[in-house]
């Protein structure tokens, strides 16, 4: 495949760096735009990103210096930087405050990148890394949208939801993907309608031996679940909440329960 000159230049740097890291047995995986490219997205025109373990970051940088790259000061404390001529290479070790772990690297799969085989970051991890970076000043969705479209079948969207669904930016992006139909086959569509969800939880609370509570009212509004009614003692209240959280991960469980009281005054009723 013929690439435009700038992409060619980036790919050359990428291959040199990857080969050197492989040769020096520094565990790594290709990340960023070129990992997406390796998995089917259009080629990146920006920098070359690798992920490495935090403890290997310095060693990886020395390997790159060893093949003639120039180290550069990175003001960020979550990556190290080097230049191969004009091309920037980033070694990410703690992106968005989440350290790269051996498990992340183990999930990477060996793929051909412009005919050089190298570990390429798992598609879900790649999307997660991108989505974790979303924030007040980083919410241009056009780049991530391109990647999400290209990788959608390779991504475990349920895991994405579970890991970053709490972030309003991530939720907005997932909402966008859902509305655009990009992840229409995903969890959103298979989601149990609130009425059935409430019925299911109500039955569980009655049948689960930890609770055996038949009097709990369950109301589901969006991602909020309201539990009300009376339970027989404070510890059971805690268990009702535990069972609800267990059955409905990702929902906010609201405790509107009360504990049965029987400390009222005795009074006699005269039946005539």
């Amino acid at each position: 495949m013929e690439h435009e000159p700038h992409v060619k230049e980036l790919l050359t740097t990428l291959k040199r760096a990857a080969s050197a890291l492989k040769a020096h047995e520094v565990p790594f995986a290709l990340s960023g735009g070129f990992a997406a490219f390796a998995r089917g997205a259009p080629p990146s025109r920006k920098d070359v990103d690798f992920v490495v373990l935090p403890e290997d970051a310095e060693r990886a940088l020395r390997v790159l210096i060893g093949i003639g790259f120039t180290p550069a000061d990175a003001p960020e404390d979550w990556l190290l930087k080097a230049y191969d001529g004009e091309v920037e290479v980033d070694l990410l070790h703690t992106p968005a405050n989440v350290p790269i772990t051996p498990a992340t690297l183990a999930r990477a799969t060996p793929l051909e990148v412009d005919s050089v085989r190298m570990p390429v970051m798992d598609a879900t991890d790649l999307v997660l890394l991108r989505m974790r970076a979303f924030g007040e000043h980083e919410c241009d969705f056009s780049g991530p949208l391109l990647i999400a479209r290209a990788l959608r079948e390779q991504v475990d969207w349920d895991r994405v939801r579970a890991e970053v669904g709490d972030s309003p930016y991530a939720a907005a992006f997932l909402g966008l993907l859902t509305r655009l139909g990009v992840i229409s086959g995903g969890e959103q569509e298979g989601r149990v309608p609130p009425q059935y969800l409430a019925g299911r939880l109500q039955r569980t609370l009655a049948e689960d031996p930890r609770t055996a509570e038949q009097e709990i009212r369950v109301r589901v509004v969006g991602d909020d679940v309201y539990l009300s009614g009376q339970v027989s003692c404070p510890r059971r209240r805690g268990r009702v909440l535990d069972v609800a959280r267990e059955q409905l991960p990702g929902y906010r469980i609201h405790d509107e329960l009360s504990v049965v009281r029987f400390d009222g005054p005795i009074r006699e009723e005269r039946l005539t």
Binding site: S232, E268, L271
Partner: protein, 244 residues
């Protein structure tokens, strides 16, 4: 004059141990008898029944109990009944017992009862075997209650059930689940016997006060409904006259 104390749905388990008994100190001054309207345990285990036995044993007044649906949950209802009887609690299911009170002989007949519904909104013995079995269970429970009430040789008769005989005392529960909370056949048996009072539990969100079509006072004594350790009902001379 006979005074009856009653409570249901105490749902004992290990966590409730020792929490109820201190509330029973005034019982001797309040009533001639204590009726327990079922759901004495949480899951119907023998261990939970041991807590019930320890909380309600050796009280200054006789204790008469029926079991509730929770007490059947672990298929140990017979062991539970035996355990309670061993500490002096009279457990009835389709039987009656007579308690000699200063104000006369009080007859108590009890059944757990079952679901079915109320006139015009109830199940019937029609269709699938499961449906027939469901409705038949309710009919047979009411028949056992009727027979037990009729068998009593007493001055005053009280019916003790877990399921509700009327819909009055279910007010507060969702109407859609009424058929699961009681059976009007129980009320029919209660009216036929001319009982002075009917007490039941089961409907935690219901209300205390109701009445059968025949004018028998019905009290829902489920603990969450009462909000006090037990209800106390004084049966005056007029109501203690058998109406049969």
């Amino acid at each position: 004059m006979i005074t009856v104390a009653a409570v249901g749905d105490v749902h004992m388990d290990q966590e409730m141990r020792g929490r109820y008994r201190p509330r029973l100190g005034g019982l001797a001054g309040d009533a001639d008898v204590l009726l327990l309207a079922g759901d004495l345990t949480k899951h119907g285990t023998v261990e939970e029944a041991q807590v019930v036995a320890d909380e309600f044993r050796d009280l200054p007044v006789p204790v008469v109990a029926v079991l509730g649906n929770h007490d059947y949950h672990s298929d140990a209802h017979e062991e539970i009944a035996a355990l309670l009887r061993a500490v002096g609690i009279t457990v009835v299911e389709g039987e009656g017992t007579v308690v000699a009170c200063p104000g006369g002989r009080l007859g108590v007949a009890g059944v757990k009862g079952f679901a079915l519904g109320f006139p015009g909104q109830c199940a019937s013995e029609f269709g699938e075997p499961e449906m027939k079995c469901f409705a038949r269970s309710s009919r047979e429970a009411a028949e056992r209650l009727g027979a037990a009430l009729a068998s009593l040789d007493a001055d005053t008769v009280v019916a003790l059930t877990h399921y509700a005989p009327v819909r009055d005392t279910l007010a507060g529960e969702p109407v859609e689940i009424f058929p699961f909370l009681g059976s009007y056949l129980l009320a029919e048996a209660i009216d036929a016997a001319g009982a002075a009072l009917a007490v039941h539990g089961h409907a935690h969100r219901g209300t205390e006060v109701g009445m059968t079509a025949g004018g028998v006072p019905v009290r829902n004594v489920a603990l969450p409904v009462l909000g006090r350790p037990y209800g106390v009902y004084r049966l005056d001379e007029r109501t203690t006259q058998p109406t049969r």
